[in-house]
């Protein structure tokens, strides 16, 4: 395992300190936690619903890179692939609350779900209004979702954070915001492929092995294997398969879409844009209208080499929320 780190146990703490000391005008650490929160002047005068997210580390820039005016008020960083603890989430909620309540955006994993749930109880005990939404955009294992913890939350999370963050910034109240977030989640679908697995530092070797000519369809962002291992295909063919899988999962394919092509950590932008080119060409051929596209390392799996495709069916003025300005360093 080759990584630019010091001690394995200190990675998350050092990373979090690195983030805030790189952008001190925008970000700070909440005392006694590994939660990163807005530090800009505008925030202190805000009287808006606070939006808070978080989860295990290893998905950078999610969530910390999306803290800033117009997106999140705070992001709570757990250890690598491990949910943060309720006390830290609770601190973030308290910081984000301006009397209008707080929306929690949680990825659907047992640890995240339960720890955020506990934090919510702690906050409600303090009379802070809290609602939470569970992002579960990964459709790669949707068929038997009731027999499992449910669909996983992956790259689509960043779109949920952007839309909810922008709507909160524009003054939407808490309950409406949670409903908006839930609709966005319902409309957001992701599938990923990996050419090689990630190496979790504490583990020291890749989470699974693929041959030189193999790729894995349907991987998750915690090194979860996918639904099939195939011979590596040209970008265009991968795009075709992911698009078909995603489009089929909607009731119908009319309307406008947003597209997110997401690198999983060690995938060069060059490959991401070649893939985006194929995706956009294929969608055009299929008569699917795309009104918003984003390409880059947005929600990663440490150093996994691979890519995910997210489609989001747009409603109402969501496109305006997507295009609204934000101070977040990584949007």
């Amino acid at each position: 395992m080759k990584k630019i780190i010091n001690n394995i146990d200190d990675i998350v703490s050092e990373m979090v300190h690195g983030i805030v000391s790189s952008y001190p005008q925008k970000l700070k650490i909440l005392p006694g936690t590994l939660a990163i929160a807005r530090n800009d002047a505008a925030f202190s005068d805000d009287k808006k619903v606070g939006v808070v997210s978080g989860g295990g580390s290893g998905h950078e820039p999610l969530h910390s890179g999306y803290v800033g005016k117009g997106m999140l008020c705070a992001a709570v960083c757990g250890q690598i692939n491990t949910s943060p603890t309720p006390d830290q989430i609770y601190e973030a909620i308290k910081y984000a609350d301006k009397g209008q309540g707080v929306l929690l955006i949680v990825k659907n994993y047992a640890g995240d779900d339960m720890n955020f749930d506990m934090a919510k109880e702690l906050a409600e005990f303090d009379d802070i209004k809290v609602e939470s939404i569970l992002v579960d955009d990964d459709i790669s294992a949707a068929d038997d979702a009731e027999d499992t913890q449910g669909k996983r939350g992956v790259a689509g999370t960043v779109l949920v954070e952007k839309i909810c963050g922008a709507a909160a910034e524009q003054g939407m109240e808490l309950h409406e915001l949670a409903q908006l977030g839930q609709r966005v989640i319902n409309n957001t679908k992701t599938v990923a492929v990996a050419l090689s697995a990630a190496t979790v530092p504490a583990v020291g070797h890749p989470g699974f092995e693929l041959d030189d000519d193999q790729m894995e369809y349907g991987v998750g962002i915690h090194n979860e294997r996918g639904f099939s291992t195939e011979k590596i295909a040209p970008s265009k063919q991968i795009a075709e398969e992911l698009i078909n899988k995603i489009l089929k999962s909607y009731d119908h394919n009319t309307g406008d879409y947003a597209v997110l092509v997401n690198g999983l950590g060690s995938t060069p932008l060059m490959e991401q844009f070649v893939f985006a080119n194929d995706v956009l060409n294929l969608l055009k051929e299929k008569g699917i209208k795309v009104s918003f596209t984003k390409v880059g390392n947005k929600v990663t799996a440490i150093d996994m080499h691979g890519i995910s495709l997210t489609l989001m069916k747009l409603e109402n003025n969501w496109i305006e929320y997507l295009e609204a300005p934000t101070d977040a360093i990584s949007w």
Binding site: S83, P86, D87, A110, M114, M118, D144, Q149, E224
Partner: protein, 194 residues
């Protein structure tokens, strides 16, 4: 039945020692059907709890449970952190409200965890230890053999909650790591009240 303050402290500290001596084993079990961190995470939490009990040296029953609950909640993390946290916070709240019967505490903690995890028996989680063990304890029938039996039974279950649920059929054949670490808690209890 009721524990004395010293018994309560001894119980928890005995548990932390069990965890400490079995970190590798718990990690191994979690590696088979999870992400391999349960031993490390839990040990971090229980060692912090041991330290807190020794340093703060709480002198009332509510304070003992409070110390244990808050320390576990803030130091374990992950799914098991929320579950153990929920269990001990529930017990701490009940003790504070004057409920001291241990059998009630354990049964209520189990209920709270089911609610927290939207889960129930048969899903290959720690509930498959807590549910039967807390009931057997209430009926004065809890033994070490029974506890280990409950853990063993999770082996043939298919996981329906948590990370291991994504393995589907492949989750069968391994015991649940947090059922295992919970078995130490119940064994420690038996040893303390023996």
């Amino acid at each position: 039945m009721e524990l004395t303050i010293n018994q309560a402290k001894k119980w928890i500290i005995l548990w932390t020692d069990y965890v400490k001596n079995n970190v590798e084993l718990l990690n191994e079990i979690d590696t088979a059907i999870g992400d391999g961190d349960h031993g490390t995470n839990l040990n971090r939490g229980t060692q912090a709890t041991k330290k807190a009990l020794e340093e703060e040296d709480p002198q009332t029953m509510p304070l003992v449970f409070r110390t244990v609950a808050l320390t576990l909640v803030s130091t374990i993390g992950g799914a098991s952190g929320a579950l153990y946290g929920t269990a001990f916070l529930t017990m701490a709240r009940l003790v504070k409200d004057g409920e001291t019967r241990l059998e009630v505490l354990l049964v209520e903690a189990t209920k709270a965890m089911k609610k927290r995890g939207k889960s129930d028996v048969g899903m290959k989680t720690l509930i498959d230890l807590w549910d039967p063990a807390s009931k057997a304890f209430a009926e004065h029938k809890l033994t070490k053999e029974y506890i280990n039996d409950c853990v063993e039974k999770t082996k043939n279950m298919k996981a329906k909650k948590g990370r291991s649920s994504y393995l589907r059929e492949r989750s069968i054949g391994h015991v649940d790591p947090v059922a295992k670490s919970s078995s130490y808690l119940y064994i420690a209890l038996l040893e303390v009240i023996d």
